[in-house]
Amino acid sequence: MAPLSRNAQVLRYLLEVAPGVGRIKLVKYAYLADCEAFRYLGRAISNFRYRFDKHGPFDRAFFDAKDELVRGGYASETTTKIGPYDGYDYRPTDQTVQYGFSQAEAEILRYVAETYLSETAIRLCEDVVYKTPPMRDAKVGERLKMDKMREEQDPLGFDLERLLAAEASADAGHYRSLKEAVDELRARHRS
């Protein structure tokens, strides 16, 4: 079977963390993950090209990715009623997926889905999505400028990949007393 496209992988990974979400939240999760990825890694995770649609950031390629998941048996799509409207909820199936994400990308996807899981779609849009820099000055119909998320890279600033490596070291018990490390640095600067 052909490997899943990058966009389909993003949606499926988000569904594994947040099964049962609807279309609006799923697209917004992908958008927020791409925002965070621009901030911390300087690039997006997905290949979506977001426009300011009537419900916020959207790319019609979402439908292709969603159809790819459903057709391939990687996710289920169920029609639900949300008041007078038809909605859809999506869940991952048991079919395994070979993800092509780096550890940092997977971390960002997991973080976004977990953090915003309990938000309603409306609150997610109003309180979070519409306040992101690419959305702030955008007009309906416009392509969103995701690189507004990119912060000037400071060589001494935060580095997600190094953080993950340090967390792995800590988990493996590879650390030493801070005082010992500071004393060693002090001695180095004295000599």
């Binding site: 001494l156 935060f158 800590a170 650390y175 007393s177 801070l178 490390a181 500071v182 640095l185």
Partner: protein
């Protein structure tokens, strides 16, 4: 209860690079200040906020020669539950 303070090797390198970026006459006092700030964290980890992709993050702000430095530290709790392990030290804009 105060936690023991430890540092991961990657964060040791961060600290060394941050200290190296300072004028040499400030380095010793900066090290003292960083240690003092992190001891406040060890005494009360609730001073940290959850930011930086949900990691507890603590602002390390100090003054040397009337210059204020704003750094941040991320940390995790070791499996022994008595030790805070610093996982990254980095410069922040403000």
């Amino acid at each position: 209860m105060s936690y023991a303070l430890a540092i991961a090797p990657e964060a040791e390198q961060d600290l060394a690079r941050l200290i190296d970026s300072l004028p040499s006459r400030r380095r010793g006092r900066a090290l003292d200040a960083v240690l003092a700030e992190l001891e406040k964290l060890a005494a009360n980890p609730k001073l940290a906020v959850k930011s930086t992709l949900g990691r507890p993050t603590y602002r390390v702000s100090f003054v040397v020669d009337r210059v204020r430095y704003n750094w941040s530290a991320t940390f995790t709790f070791a499996l022994d539950e008595h030790t805070i392990v610093i996982t990254q030290l980095f410069r922040v804009p403000l």
